[in-house]
């Protein structure tokens, strides 16, 4: 069972509909108890880092997510702002983030239109169960003004917008995409299906 974290500022229904479409067993989770009961988590995200963290705090979800991901090592997939808040700090409104991953989140240069909105080509840099059978690159839907700059060698894929930027990260049980795989047509559904397999089949991650 995959739990899609449904907090006020998120777009959990879109992710939930996509999981249903690919035949996954999923539920929307809104309380610490519900978060504890699922086998893998997805943290969807839209909008600002600060609003996302405040919304998760108001719903008392941060400690519960932390427990399941960092202590019980359940698979975790962050999407968009869900990726950004895994880092230590975001330049967006100078927001302290969760700090699970070393690095920070910066704004795109002024030479490009922000937000970046649209499908961009994502190049996969490593083999990983999340990008299995996806080829060397594919197109996914981005909506972001900020991008993560990880300190460690955890970048799974990159794209280009004014500069090359981190499009996906993978570190042990923690995975995340800057793009919206739930809104990237069939390619996105295929990647989401890879995540479902990681959770349901217990595929080992390194």
């Amino acid at each position: 069972m995959i739990g899609v974290i449904d907090y006020r500022a998120g777009n959990a229904p879109s992710v939930y509909h996509a999981l249903r479409r690919i035949g996954a067993t999923a539920s929307l989770v809104r309380t610490p108890e519900e978060i504890e009961q699922v086998d893998g988590l997805i943290l969807p995200g839209v909008g600002a880092a600060d609003a996302t963290i405040v919304s998760l705090e108001e719903d008392n979800l941060i400690d519960a997510i932390y427990q399941e991901v960092l202590f019980k090592h359940k698979p975790f997939l962050g999407i968009c702002v869900g990726l950004q808040i895994m880092f230590e700090h975001s330049d967006e409104d100078d927001t302290p983030c969760l700090g699970w991953l070393a690095g920070e989140v910066r704004q795109f240069p002024k030479t490009v239109r922000v937000p970046q909105i649209g499908y961009n080509e994502v190049r996969f840099l490593k083999d990983h169960p999340l990008v299995e059978d996806m080829g060397a690159s594919d197109y996914f839907y981005f909506v972001n003004s900020y991008y993560a700059v990880p300190e460690d060698d955890i970048v799974l894929a990159e794209a280009e917008y004014g500069l090359p930027f981190c499009a996906m990260v993978a570190s042990r049980n923690m995975m995340a995409s800057q793009f919206h795989m739930e809104k990237s047509g069939q390619s996105g559904l295929k990647m989401l299906h890879n995540y479902v397999r990681i959770v349901e089949e217990g595929i080992p991650l390194c």
Binding site: H17, V46, P115, I117, E182, Q186
Partner: protein, 266 residues
């Protein structure tokens, strides 16, 4: 590289997709979710639905319709019509839409743009504007005026000034609808579209007038817009011929325009 987007736009009335010409004379096509599913299967990049009667009937957008469509499409989905408050926006987003298009409401209460952007992120807020070519005056230096309420009421506002104000108030995208070109199938108004694209640093969407892939080719080669709205050319029985998304993308791709490739294997 970021690609140019093709956005299918549909007007919905009583749950049915309808086709308007110059904002009048609606004809029914099919239930919204059927049209949505068909166009998603054709690999459209993005979809917009306008509930065209919601404002006039002073009611909230048709939420069950939004939910039915959201269950069928896995590309971004924007809705507009009858959205008046933050709570309305929240309901629409929770029903499964990604973005909210605001138009007349934003002209009457510009602060709604900022409030929506702060609550849900600026990427949610699409400022849609109806523009009409008018004589240049001190009040309207661009020669394009903003109209509201289904293009029936003229505001005396300059299109470029309003686009800049919308950006500074927190809009994430601007959709420029040409009243003169709407329903004509004679091509986009490239002049005002490019003028607005130069005036703001957020993505701009062109709307009104697309009848052939050639109109899109000109839009993407002669202006700096991020996306083009297509509607009649996909499905309207009034056009001499309709085009599939694959046909449009093949023609644009051959012209060297960066696009999300059409996948034959899907």
């Amino acid at each position: 590289m970021l690609t140019k987007r093709l956005i299918a736009c549909f007007d919905v009335k009583n749950g049915m997709v309808t086709k308007a010409r110059n904002f009048q004379d609606n004809i029914d096509i099919a239930p919204a979710q059927e049209v949505a599913k068909r166009i998603y299967d054709e690999q459209i990049d993005e979809i917009i639905f306008y509930d065209i009667m919601a404002s006039a009937e002073k009611r909230m957008i048709d939420l069950p319709m939004v939910k039915r469509v959201a269950e069928e499409v896995f590309v971004p989905f924007t809705v507009g019509g009858g959205i008046r408050s933050l709570e309305d926006m929240y309901q629409v987003l929770k029903a499964g839409a990604e973005k909210i298009s605001i138009d007349s409401m934003a002209v009457r209460h510009p602060e709604i743009i900022t409030r929506g952007a702060l609550a849900f992120g600026r990427q949610c807020m699409v400022l849609s504007m109806q523009v009409k070519k008018v004589p240049v005056t001190p009040q309207i230096p661009s020669g394009y005026e903003i109209a509201i309420d289904g293009a029936r009421v003229f505001t005396g506002m300059d299109a470029i000034a309003w686009a800049k104000e919308g950006e500074s108030r927190g809009a994430g995208e601007i959709c420029v609808n040409s009243i003169d070109r709407d329903g004509t199938h004679q091509g986009y108004d490239l002049e005002i579209t490019q003028a607005i694209a130069e005036a703001v640093n957020i993505p701009v969407i062109a709307s009104g007038g697309a009848g052939t892939p050639e109109h899109l080719r000109r839009l993407f080669t002669e202006t700096d817009v991020s996306a083009g709205i297509i509607s009649s050319m996909l499905y309207s029985p009034r056009l001499p011929r309709n085009y599939t998304v694959a046909e449009i993308k093949a023609e644009l791709g051959a012209a060297g325009i960066p696009l999300r490739p059409y996948r034959e294997d899907l």
